[in-house]
Amino acid sequence: MKRVSAWVTYLQVAPLALIFLLFLVVPIATIIVVSFFDYNTTQIIPAFLLQNYEELLLSPVTWATYLQTIQFSIITWAITLVIGFAVAYFLAFEVRSTTWQMVLFLVCTIPFWTSNVIRMISWIPFLGRNGLANMTLMQLGLIREPLEFLLFSNFAVVLTYVHLYTLFMVVPIFNSMMRIDRSLLEAARDAGASSWQTLWTVIVPLCKPGIAIGSIFIVTIVMGDFVTVRMMSGGQSASVSLMMMNAMSLLQYPAAAANAVVLLLLVLFTVAAMMRLVDIRKEL
């Protein structure tokens, strides 16, 4: 066999390497570099200062915002996990015909046919003070006054997250479930397992990679989100990305960059922790 010379190999990996370099390495490197810059109200000044990080990490606002974002992530993660697992379970084990499985799966993706923002906004007339939800509850006589917490609240933010992103949990878990050999469930039944025991001792452990992938999706999306928080909390809640937005609108790019680096590290650690818990390579 003829040996391919080294530069041919380099040439072959060059396009992808270039794309990564241009669109991943360079931007992140820029953010890291800028995070050490100085700034005033009109300009950013190249420098190497730790001031941005100091200001960020010593401010109680930062800590509160991070806690808020982490809280949103955890609540959203927990809810989407339960709903996503249930939907995936129904699709994978309760729906027997492949045709119906595909049909119902497509139905699950219907929300994705419109943009995120539109789906978000469409909650507003539903949840508002005189919205559908309040009107219906009042007409049924269940409440006397409109529920205020429905819209422009943390409740609304989490609800929207769940609505927008549950499918990201459903798909990987469904995929894991479809790979489970059905005879394993019979073997469990043969060994005397109740359906509940089969779920906990066979299905859940075998779905772990799917759960991990779904969790990574949800956590990274929610941690990086600012549109939902801004729209659905009515400006009453903050998120880390919203903080960055605000900094940028004041042209405080170095401050925003420092914040971005901190958030990036946090997300990377979270994902790394999840990967340690579950070997997702099996699924890829």
Partner: protein, 338 residues
């Protein structure tokens, strides 16, 4: 220990929609016997096994184990255990936990169930692999673990769904011997589904030949081979030539007769055709080692085969295309019921 129970099927039927996969099957499997359900794919043998196991609900009829009607009991309450075709070992559990699974479901505490599982693994010579995951085991090893898992609940009947089909031929024969030895040692009934007549003949005390959801014959291997009940059984079990009764000039009720291939004498030439011989043309000669199988075309019949010991073949060899005469003794003609 209490006396071992018989398994009895009483007019058991399983319908999938309109079609009956198993049609009014009645069968008694004596305690402590090795029973093989044998038949082509789609004959209802696996469905029958799954109904005994409780993984398929019988549409009609009763399944009785000892003195208890188990037709509607859940699988684990029947005193049966099943070994699945591809073993169905839990991929996320090591061998010990796989074997201990049913004990875990019963709430036996961890140390006790793992100790018991290890004991069981020792009995199938798998103790050195106790900590391995199923994916790290060979087919034969997986089968042993699956056996250990099925046996840990002390079942009265072990159900095996094509247990040897996933193994290579060499291992298949080895595991076959082990299964038989294990059954003899445990003294419980094994019900084993297979489509291989060799397997059934080698293992079974009771061979149950099934076709189209019905039992064609249920008897000892010897009886099934020497006195096949029907043309289907004679053909499926192999080693037989099925002829129209008129051709063999046999007396009796049946329309067909069976003559064992090894009882047919092949001679070259166009010798006169008497009542117990036929003239034909050699179609094929296959050397099988200690025997030679000769295929012969006879006008108006399906290809007949004769199995001739090597020495006798060498004394009187025939070649493809050569005219030959097949003859047999009248006592070797077995009249078939159907």
């Amino acid at each position: 220990m209490a006396t071992k129970p018989d398994v009895e099927l009483v007019a058991v039927t399983k319908r999938f929609g309109e079609t009956a996969a198993v049609d009014q099957v009645s069968l008694r499997i004596p305690a402590g016997s090795y029973c093989c359900l044998l038949g082509p794919s789609g004959c209802g043998k696996t469905t029958t096994l799954r109904m005994i196991a409780g993984h398929e609900e019988a549409s009609e009829g009763d399944i009785i184990l000892g003195s208890e009607n188990i037709t509607h009991l859940p699988p684990a309450a029947r005193g049966t255990a099943m070994m699945f075709q591809s073993y169905a070992l839990f991929p996320h559990l090591d061998c010990t936990d796989n074997v201990a699974f049913s004990l875990r479901m019963r709430g036996v505490d961890k140390d006790k169930r793992r100790a018991q599982a290890r004991e069981m693994l020792k009995r199938v010579q798998m103790e050195p692999f106790a900590g391995r995951l199923p994916a790290q085991l060979s087919g034969g090893q997986q089968q042993r673990v699956a056996l250990a898992r099925a046996l840990i609940t002390d079942p009265q009947v072990l159900l095996l769904d094509e247990p040897l089909s996933a193994l290579d031929p060499f291992l298949r024969i080895k595991m076959r011997e082990e299964l038989k030895a294990l059954q003899t040692r445990l003294g419980i009934s094994f019900i084993h589904v297979t489509h291989s007549q060799d397997e059934a003949m080698a293992l079974a005390d009771l061979v149950v030949v099934m076709n189209h959801g019905k039992i064609e014959q249920a008897a000892s291997a010897r009886e099934v081979f020497n006195k096949p009940a029907s043309a289907f059984v004679a053909r499926f079990i192999g080693g037989h030539n099925v002829l129209p009764a008129a051709v063999a000039r046999a007396k009796g009720e049946g329309a067909f007769v069976a003559i064992r291939a090894d009882r047919i004498v092949v001679q070259p030439g166009n010798a006169p055709v008497d009542a117990t011989s036929l003239a034909g043309v050699t179609r094929s000669v296959e050397y099988l080692g200690s025997t030679v199988q000769v295929g012969v075309d006879v006008m108006g019949l399906e290809t007949l085969s004769a199995v001739v010991p090597e020495a006798r073949f060498d004394a009187n060899p025939v070649a493809p295309g050569q005219p030959v005469v097949l003859s047999w003794a009248p006592k070797d003609v077995h009249v078939l019921g159907r």
